[in-house]
Structure formats: structure tokens, C-alpha cells
């Protein structure tokens, strides 16, 4: 039993969904999504028992490439995030009718497959292939099933595609360079490379470009808001819930251990960039008129903080970043789902056209309020654990980082509550707002439950990720 099982389930699921036909597609997809989630929980159990669930096999002899899927705590945590969120995302779409839904759901599973592969791959080329593979399904999902004017959508999506692809190419160059040095792209072999500071800087920058665009950090974020707005909500959830984390995960897994000297040398710049993202994203979010765009900018702010945490190169920073990644994954999926629920009823995403929902649907309002509060990191929610740990790690570097990064606490509350006030409160809306359906309720309650449970008891996840993060830290500190 090893982790390739999950990839197989997801890939088979994608094909099965495609073959199942439009009527059955959503249910088949959900089934395979749940199967993958179940399998990853079983695998987690095996992993916790100390079994080896990695899978390494020579793939291409010349050049020397392995099909290496390595599962450590960090990968398992991210894998769980992917496989748990995928069925939730699939389930969340049950209220909508999609044209050609067999392709739609197959693409979702395929994307999930590619993202899971990215989190698991420990060979550079394999990782790169999965990394790029994940771009293809989201491109089609956003392009075909997106909303708004077709021309504008095409523009936004193509921009996103080319932009991220262009960034990734630099990563490929870095991999090729390292292959020439090491003769292999296995992570362990790359760790053994003794690169000079100058080489490391270039590799670091090449990786940085790929990741900064994907995460996204300012000023590489311009694709984000438009794509989030134009993509169907399912696509937005996949993007913001999981795909952004690919970039952040890769920073921890690839960028920092492979170029530790550069990371240490220019730490302040990159932390600063992350924090600038926090402030910038928060301030831009204040005046957004479109709910999804607002959430996009809030995402920008949150990932900025996470990125700042990773670049501190401390255990707290990395751990907080991973915790916050998972927490943010859940909360942002919940919030986008809430936006979708409003859209299903009002056919609008403009905040100005909402308002007064609380009297019509108090249940929904309560749930969205909890999500809003989780997003602003109220203690007892999972996000607080992450944000606190990240800010604490920043304070270890420099207290000003913590203070500036901490403005997210204030500004985040400002824009989220402002949004909540104008979208949900106020005089009863003239348009009717049907109360949440059972499906919608289950999805939201699941997400909220996860947030609260880990908010009060994050120990399982912390214990899972800490050993592998410590290992990565020893890699980072191997040259001094």
C-alpha cells in the first residue's frame, strides 16, 4: 500500500466520470473523491504506524528520472487537504447544472490528481510535470464554465495560463541546471549538491518567479482577482483552496532547502514582500464591489502572511505557514461557497445589490459570520493557530514584521466585517432569499466543524507535520 494508490484512484475516477455520462457524472465524481479521501486517511494511519508508504521507481533511464512519490508528514498533510477538499468542492456544486458535466467533473478530479501528485512528487521532473499538469484542467474549467463576458473571461484566463506557465519555465531551467550538476533530480540527490552562493541565488530566483506567480505574491498577483471572479465557483475553490498552496508548499519543499544560502541572505526582502502583500491585499479588498474579488484580495493578504512565515526559516514560521495553509484552504472554500449560495439566489456578486439577508436566512448568516470570523483569525478557529504561529515567528525575526503583518488582524476585520455588514445586514431585502438547502448546509457545517475542531485541538496536524519540517530545517541549515 503506498501513496500512488491515491493518484490512481483520482485518475481512474477522472476517466470513469468522463465515461459515466452527464447524468451520473457528479455522483461518480463524488464517489471517487470520497474514495480518495478515505484512502488518504487509511494511508495516514499506515504512515502514523511507521510504515513506508513512499513509492519510488526508475522511470526514465536516460536522463535519469524516477517516478518518486515520497510521503512525509508535510506531504501527507497537504494530500489530506487536497483529498478532503475535493469531495467537498464536488459536493458543493450539486445545486448547479453544468453543461457537459461529465467533462466538468472529470476535469475536477483530474486537477485534484495533478495537485496531489505535486504534493507527493520528490523527483524534480515528475514534480514539474504534475505542477504544469494541474494548470490544464483549471484553464478549461475557467474558460468553458466560467461566468461573465466571454471575451473578458478568455483574456483573464489566458493571461493566467501564460503567466503561470512562463513563471514555471524558469523553474524548469533551474531543474535542468541542477540535473547537469547532480545527474539526478531526486530530492535527496539535489540536497547533496554543493552549490555556490551565486548559483543558489539564481536557482532561488528562478523558483521564486514560479512560486511568486502561483501563490501569488505582489506584484505578481494581477491574474488572481480576475480569474477568481470569472471562473466558476468550483474553479475558484480549487484555485484558492488548493492550488495556491501548491506554491507555498513548494517554497517549503523545494525552494528553501535547495537554495538555503540565498534564502538566508535575502530573507528580509522576501518577508517584506509577503508582508507588503498582507497590507496591500487588505487595503485593496476594502473597496471591492464584487464579493468574489474581495475574497480574492483577502486571499492575497493571507497568502502573503503565509509566505512571510515560510521565509522566516524558523520552525514556527514553517509550521504556522502549513497550519495556516490548511486553515485558509478550508475557510476560503467556505467563503467562496457562501458567495455561490448568494449568487444562486440573487444572480449577482455585487455587494451593493445584497444586504438584509440576515432576517431572511438567519442560519446562513450565522454560518457566513463564522466563516468571516475564522477568516479574520478569531481564537478557537483554526486560522488563529496558523496566524498566531506565523506572527510569532515573524516577531522572532523582527518585531516590526509582526506588527506590520499583524495589521491583517485590524484591516482583515475591517474589510470582512464591512462586507458582512453590507452583504448580510441591514433592512430586509426585497428579493426573496430561500434558506440554505440541506446540501449547502452540510457543506458549510463540515467546513466549520473542521475549523473549530482543529482550532481547539491542532495537535494531530502539528504532530504530523513537525518531524518533516524539522528535517527540512536541517537541510536548510546544512551549510553554514
Amino acid at each position: 500500500m503506498n501513496v500512488s494508490l491515491i493518484l490512481i484512484i483520482l485518475l481512474v475516477g477522472a476517466f470513469a466520470t468522463f465515461l459515466a455520462g452527464d447524468k451520473l457524472a457528479s455522483k461518480v465524481a463524488l464517489f471517487f473523491g470520497l474514495a480518495a479521501a478515505g484512502a488518504s486517511i487509511v494511508l495516514l494511519n499506515h504512515y502514523n504506524l511507521g510504515e513506508n508508504i513512499s513509492f519510488i521507481n526508475q522511470w526514465i533511464t536516460q536522463p535519469n528520472i524516477s517516478f518518486a512519490l515520497k510521503a512525509d508528514g508535510l506531504s501527507m498533510a497537504m494530500l489530506l487537504l487536497t483529498t478532503v477538499l475535493t469531495p467537498i468542492i464536488i459536493f458543493s456544486s450539486f445545486g448547479n447544472d453544468y453543461k457537459n458535466s461529465k467533462s466538468f467533473y472529470a476535469l475536477i478530479l483530474f486537477m485534484s490528481f495533478a495537485m496531489a501528485g505535486t504534493f507527493l512528487a520528490s523527483d524534480g521532473l515528475l514534480y514539474y510535470i504534475f505542477w504544469e499538469l494541474s494548470l490544464i484542467p483549471i484553464y478549461f474549467i475557467a474558460l468553458i464554465w466560467g461566468n461573465g463576458d466571454t471575451e473578458e473571461r478568455k483574456k483573464a484566463v489566458v493571461k493566467f495560463f501564460i503567466y503561470t506557465l512562463a513563471g514555471s519555465l524558469f523553474m524548469l531551467v533551474a531543474f535542468v541546471y541542477m540535473y547537469q550538476k547532480a545527474g539526478s533530480l531526486l530530492l535527496e540527490d539535489l540536497y547533496k549538491l554543493n552549490l555556490t552562493a551565486n548559483e543558489q541565488l539564481w536557482i532561488f530566483l528562478a523558483f521564486f518567479l514560479a512560486y511568486a506567480i502561483k501563490i501569488p505574491l505582489i506584484p505578481f498577483h494581477t491574474w488572481q482577482a480576475n480569474v477568481y471572479q470569472k471562473a466558476p465557483t468550483v474553479g475558484t475553490m480549487l484555485l484558492s483552496g488548493i492550488m495556491l498552496k501548491m506554491g507555498l508548499y513548494s517554497v517549503i519543499r523545494w525552494q528553501l532547502p535547495l537554495a538555503p544560502l540565498a534564502a538566508k541572505e535575502y530573507m528580509y526582502i522576501f518577508i517584506g514582500l509577503g508582508i507588503a502583500g498582507v497590507i496591500y491585499g487588505s487595503i485593496v479588498a476594502l473597496k471591492q464591489k464584487d464579493l468574489k474579488k474581495l475574497l480574492a484580495y483577502s486571499s492575497l493578504a493571507h497568502v502573503g502572511l503565509i509566505a512571510a512565515g515560510t521565509y522566516t526559516l524558523t520552525l514556527d514560521g514553517l509550521r504556522g505557514a502549513v497550519l495556516q495553509m490548511i486553515a485558509h484552504g478550508f475557510v476560503v472554500v467556505g467563503l467562496f461557497y457562501a458567495a455561490e449560495i448568494i449568487f444562486r439566489r440573487y444572480e449577482t456578486r455585487a455587494i451593493a445589490e445584497m444586504g438584509g439577508i440576515r432576517t431572511q436566512s438567519p442560519k446562513f448568516t450565522s454560518m457566513i459570520l463564522i466563516l468571516v470570523l475564522a477568516s479574520v483569525a478569531l481564537p478557537t478557529t483554526f486560522n488563529f493557530i496558523g496566524e498566531f504561529t506565523v506572527l510569532y515567528s515573524l516577531s522572532q525575526i523582527n518585531i516590526w514584521f509582526a506588527i506590520l503583518g499583524g495589521t491583517t488582524i485590524i484591516l482583515g476585520a475591517y474589510y470582512m466585517l464591512k462586507m458582512f455588514q453590507h452583504a448580510m445586514l441591514g433592512e430586509t431585502n426585497t428579493k426573496p432569499f430561500a434558506d440554505v438547502t440541506v446540501n449547502e448546509g452540510i457543506t458549510l457545517v463540515l467546513i466549520i466543524g473542521v475549523l473549530f475542531f482543529f482550532g481547539m485541538y491542532p495537535k494531530p496536524i502539528t504532530d504530523l507535520i513537525t518531524p518533516s519540517l524539522e528535517e527540512i530545517l536541517t537541510q536548510i541549515n546544512r551549510i553554514n
Binding site: H221, T222, T314, T359, P379, T380, F388, A402, I409
Partner: protein
């Protein structure tokens, strides 16, 4: 120990259970039942607290309960634990005690509201978080409560959520609190970095045992924590949310914005007294901020016409006095004033609620008057509370306020002067309130006059209880023979060695304070009873009182300094920077496009050109291959 853990859990979770019941089943339970459940759950907590209070004498070191590991930081773990010692039990007593009374009051007060079950749910949630705040054994558990009460405050201020102004007030309260919360967090970070612990007990031993403390960072930490306290306890510069918070229902104002939540800052500073004692600079800042807040808020209170606004500014002012005491290192005095203040201010708020209830929502004192006859119990209880807050001898406020003034006098005469002036003003505006509300003729509409009535017993009983407490509350810390000081010795060890003597100076000061209070009352009497003045219309207010009436334009100032620039920046970022960055990215695409477009022109099919370029290319390749070496 097991027993204690269980009871502590009951103490904490009873209000939470009440919250859950009211949230999920409140609507179907009916109004009365949901109110009763809400009240009972707090009462259970009160009883549990009483149990611990009874046991604390036998265990002066307090009870520590660690439930589970919560957050792991690289150099330490934060556990989810409780600490039941003298300070937390004292706080729990009046939080749950006054909380129960206010719940009881709310059953009647909120009876006409369709969302009454929600109101009780929020109140219960508030009590739950307040208990967490007080009972936590480390700063992060305190922070849960700290943020939690802020949330409940937000929910309750915006309880009537159809009114966007109320929502604005709620949002403002939450955000200003969050500014303070950031300060608190920064303080927590520094303490964590310095001492690798956030637990009160270990922190205390760490600080006591440290040989060379980094005084600079310690002061920064203390200052950051103080900013947190400022946010929660409405001190300058973060006080403006509290008057706006009066948008919430009156019981909320009484419970959250007078008696309990706003004292969280004082609790925290008292909790960390061992830290603040080491940082005299920060202490001076606290004292000065407290005194200035007391004076500024009192001056604003002089001219307000909204009955709740007067009380709100009075609360800010009294909190300022408490901070003054804290800054001067007299934690026990601050705690004493917190308790007496909780009694009389809760009584005043509930009384004003009773008045507002009777007048169907009228809050402007210019439209009141002469309610003495119609509402005798309300009048009597409010009068007692007013006497207490004004510092009239034998009422509770006299003792606590007098001690603050004494301490101030001993440390710093200017601070004493400021505090005394604030006290005189307090007496004046409180009796202005009393005279305008209860004396002379009724100035409201005939309709309102017709419906004037004394409030039902569910409202008056809490009033009476609080009035009694406001009267006798001073007994817990009589000058020279203070039960409270004895009780707090484990928390504040230096009290054990403090001298308790009352000299001539003290008596003279006491007399000055009393005379001052009476002068304030006298001026109010002269102005509003003898001359029978009624405050003028808004437009007619001129001169300095206009500045006061508009609260020194602080809100407008903040608006110009912070809110407007941020909004401007947001628009600027959204419209200009975002577009610019986007154009930059598209620029790359455009350049590529342009190059290819121009390149296309070269491919015009002219063989001559192709051949020419071919030859050039050939030359280039050949010369690279053979000549470049």
C-alpha cells in the same frame, strides 16, 4: 482535584451550553423559557464560582487545571488551562453575579423583541468568553476570551441589525478592539520570545528569577500590553467606540460596556502586575493616560443629552481613574474600584434602561423629567447609584474613589488635581442626569406621559439588588481595615507589607473629595432645579460646549487621519496601482505581440530578402564555428 476540574468545567461550559441551547432551540422554546435557560446557566456558573470562593481560603495558592496542549511553539507549548486564584475568582464572582442579575433583567426588558432567544444566546456566549478570559492560566487563553468578548460585543451592539448605523457602531467597536488586540498580541510575542512561556505562574517565576532582564524589551512588552488594555477598556486614544456602543440594547451596555468586558484591561494588567512593576516608564504612561482619559471623558459627559451617552462617558472616565490607580501601582485600589463601579454603573445603566423602557425608546434627557413619581423604585435605586459614583460618604464609590485620589496625591500632585476635577465633574453630570430625568415636569409627549409606569418586578429586583450592593460594596475594603487587600495578598504580595494608617493628610484629602463631590452636586442643583434650565437644542449650542458636545471632534479627527486615507489608498490601489500592474503584465504580452507583428512583415515572400538573410545567417554560423574560438 478531579472534582475541581469538573466543577471548573461546569463553571466555564454552563453559559456555553446555554448559548448552544438558545441558538439551536431558542425559537421553539419560547421567549420566557429561553430567558430562563439563559439566566440559569449563568447562575450555575455563579454557584460554581461561589464554591471555589469558599475553597480558596484553604488553598491560598489557587487551583491550576491543565486540560490539553493547545498550541505548540518551537520553544514552548501553550496548554489550554485554567487558573483559579483570588483574582480570577473575584472577577468571576462579579461577572457571573452581575451577569445573572442582568440576564434576569433582560427577560423582561427584551420581551418584546422577536429575536429574544438570540439575545440570550449572545449574552451567554459573552459570559462564556468572559469566564474564559478571566479563568485562563496563560495569556493565550486570556486572548481567546479577549477576542471572544469583542465578538459578543460586536454581535450585541449590532443586535438590531436592520439599522446600519448600529452596525457601523458594532463594526467600529470590533475594529478598535482589534487595534488593541494587536497590541496585546505583540506583547505576548515579546514575552514569549523573552521568557519562552506565556503561563502566568511560570512567567512570574521567570521574571522573578531572571538575573539580567532586558529592560528595553520588557518595557516594550508592557507598553504593547497596555495598548491592548486601552482598546478593551476604552482609554485614550482608543475610547471612541464605547460611546457608540450604546447602540446596543441597554442590558448589554450595563453588562458589557460598564461592568465586565471593559474591565478586562484592568484585569490583565493586575494579572501581570509583576511585569508592570518592573517597568516604571510604562506605569507613568498608564497613569497619565488614565488621568487624561478620566478628565476628557468627564468634560464630554458634562454636556451630553443622551442618557446612555452620559453614562458611557462616565464609564470611560471611571475606567480612566482605574488606570490611574494601576499606573501608580495600586492594583488593589483599581480592583476595588472595578467592583464598586460594576455595582453602581450596572445599576445606573439598568435604571436608565428602565426609564427608556418606560418611555418606549426615548433616550434624550431633554424629553424626560418628572419621572420621580411615576417610577419611584427606579428613581430611588438610581439616586443611590448616583450618590455612590459621586463619592458621597458611606456609599461604595466614596471608598474606592477616595483611595484612588489618596494614591494619586501620594505619588503625584498634578495627577491628583486632574483626578479630583474629574470627580467633581462626575458628581455634576450625574446629578444633572438625575435632575433632568426625574425632577421638574415631564417634557415628553402626552402619549408618553399617559403610558408612564414603573417597570415590572423582573426589572426592579435587579435594580434593588444592585443598589444595595452599590451602597454596601465599600465594606470590602474599608480604609485601614481592608478585607480586599488581605484577600489579594497572594496576587499582590507587596500588600502584605503595606502600611495601613490614616493620618491627618488622609482625612483632609477625604474631606476635600467629599466637598468636591458635594460642590458638583450643588452646581447641578443650582442649575437644573433652581434655575430650571433645560439643555438647548443641538443647533443652539455654542462655544466650548459645542466642542464638548461634539466630543472634541475626535471621531472626525480619526476619520480624517485614518479612515479617509485608508479608503483613499484603497481606491488608489484598486483603480491605479492594480490597473498599472495589470498593464505591466499585459505589456510583456503586447511587446511579444508587437515583435511578432513586426517580424511578420519580414516574411513578405520576397525571395531576394530571404536569400540575403540566409547568406547573413550562413556567415554568422560559419564565423561562429570557425572564427569565434
Amino acid at each position: 482535584m478531579e472534582m475541581n476540574t469538573n466543577i471548573a468545567l461546569v463553571l466555564v461550559l454552563a453559559p456555553f451550553l446555554g448559548f448552544l441551547i438558545n441558538v439551536f432551540f431558542g425559537k421553539s422554546l419560547g421567549k420566557s423559557l429561553s430567558g430562563i435557560i439563559g439566566t440559569l446557566s449563568v447562575l450555575v456558573s455563579f454557584i460554581a464560582t461561589a464554591y471555589f470562593f469558599g475553597g480558596i481560603a484553604a488553598k491560598p495558592e489557587g487551583i491550576r487545571i491543565s486540560l490539553f496542549d493547545w498550541i505548540q511553539i518551537s520553544n514552548f507549548n501553550v496548554d489550554f488551562g485554567f487558573q483559579l486564584d483570588q483574582l480570577s475568582i473575584l472577577w468571576l464572582l462579579f461577572v457571573t453575579g452581575i451577569g445573572s442579575l442582568i440576564h434576569l433583567y433582560s427577560i423582561s426588558y427584551m420581551h418584546d423583541d422577536e429575536n429574544m432567544h438570540k439575545f440570550f444566546a449572545y449574552l451567554n456566549l459573552f459570559i462564556f468568553f468572559m469566564i474564559t478570559l478571566v479563568i485562563g492560566s496563560n495569556l493565550l487563553v486570556l486572548f481567546i476570551g479577549w477576542e471572544g468578548v469583542g465578538l459578543c460585543s460586536y454581535l450585541l451592539i449590532g443586535f438590531w441589525h436592520k439599522n446600519q448605523e448600529y452596525n457601523d457602531a458594532a463594526k467600529k467597536a470590533f475594529i478598535m478592539n482589534r487595534i488593541g488586540d494587536l497590541g496585546l498580541l505583540v506583547g505576548i510575542f515579546i514575552l514569549g520570545n523573552l521568557f519562552s512561556t506565556l503561563d502566568y505562574a511560570t512567567l512570574k517565576t521567570a521574571i522573578a528569577g531572571a538575573t539580567n532582564l532586558d529592560m528595553y524589551w520588557l518595557s516594550v512588552a508592557a507598553f504593547a500590553l497596555f495598548i491592548g488594555a486601552c482598546g478593551k477598556s476604552a482609554q485614550i486614544p482608543l475610547y471612541t467606540w464605547l460611546p457608540d456602543a450604546m447602540a446596543g440594547p441597554t442590558p448589554v451596555s450595563a453588562l458589557i460596556h460598564a461592568a465586565t468586558m471593559v474591565t478586562a484591561g484592568i484585569f490583565m494588567i493586575t494579572r501581570l502586575n509583576f511585569l508592570f512593576d518592573l517597568t516604571p516608564d510604562v506605569q507613568s504612561i498608564i497613569a497619565i493616560v488614565g488621568a487624561v482619559t478620566a478628565l476628557v471623558a468627564a468634560t464630554i459627559g458634562l454636556v451630553q443629552n443622551d442618557i446612555k451617552k452620559v453614562l458611557a462617558y462616565s464609564t470611560v472616565s471611571q475606567l480612566g481613574l482605574m488606570f490611574l490607580a494601576l499606573g501608580l501601582g495600586a492594583y488593589e485600589v483599581a480592583v476595588f474600584h472595578v467592583i464598586t463601579h460594576a455595582f453602581f454603573k450596572a445599576c445606573l445603566f439598568l435604571g436608565s434602561g428602565s426609564v427608556i423602557h418606560a418611555l418606549h425608546g426615548e433616550q434624550d434627557m431633554r424629553n424626560m423629567g418628572g419621572l420621580k413619581k411615576a417610577m419611584p423604585i427606579t428613581f430611588a435605586t438610581m439616586l443611590i447609584a448616583s450618590l455612590a459614583i459621586s463619592g458621597v460618604p458611606l456609599f461604595s464609590g466614596f471608598f474606592s474613589k477616595d483611595e484612588i485620589l489618596l494614591v494619586a496625591f501620594h505619588h503625584n500632585i498634578p495627577l491628583w488635581v486632574v483626578a479630583s476635577v474629574a470627580s467633581i465633574m462626575t458628581a455634576f453630570y450625574m446629578f444633572r442626569l438625575m435632575f433632568l430625568t426625574f425632577f421638574q415636569e415631564f417634557r415628553g409627549t402626552a402619549e408618553q406621559k399617559h403610558h408612564l409606569h414603573e417597570s415590572p418586578s423582573l426589572i426592579t429586583i435587579p435594580l434593588i439588588v444592585l443598589a444595595i450592593l452599590a451602597t454596601i460594596g465599600g465594606l470590602i475594603s474599608l480604609p485601614g481595615n481592608s478585607w480586599l487587600n488581605e484577600y489579594l495578598i497572594p496576587i499582590l504580595p507587596k500588600l502584605a507589607t503595606a502600611e495601613h494608617h490614616l493620618g491627618t493628610t488622609e482625612y483632609i484629602l477625604m474631606a476635600i473629595a467629599v466637598v468636591g463631590g458635594l460642590v458638583g452636586i450643588g452646581i447641578a442643583y443650582a442649575k437644573y432645579i433652581k434655575q430650571n434650565t433645560v439643555p438647548t437644542e443641538d443647533a443652539a449650542i455654542t462655544g466650548f460646549s459645542r466642542v464638548l458636545y461634539n466630543k472634541y471632534y475626535v471621531d472626525e479627527f480619526y476619520d480624517v487621519i485614518f479612515v479617509k486615507p485608508i479608503n483613499f489608498l484603497s481606491r488608489f490601489f484598486r483603480d491605479t496601482v492594480e490597473t498599472g500592474l495589470s498593464a505591466l503584465v499585459f505589456g510583456f504580452g503586447k511587446v511579444t505581440n508587437e515583435i511578432s507583428y513586426q517580424g511578420k512583415k519580414i516574411q513578405n515572400g520576397s525571395i531576394g530578402l530571404y536569400l540575403f538573410v540566409f547568406v547573413l545567417g550562413l556567415c554568422a554560423i560559419v564565423s561562429y564555428l570557425f572564427l569565434a574560438q
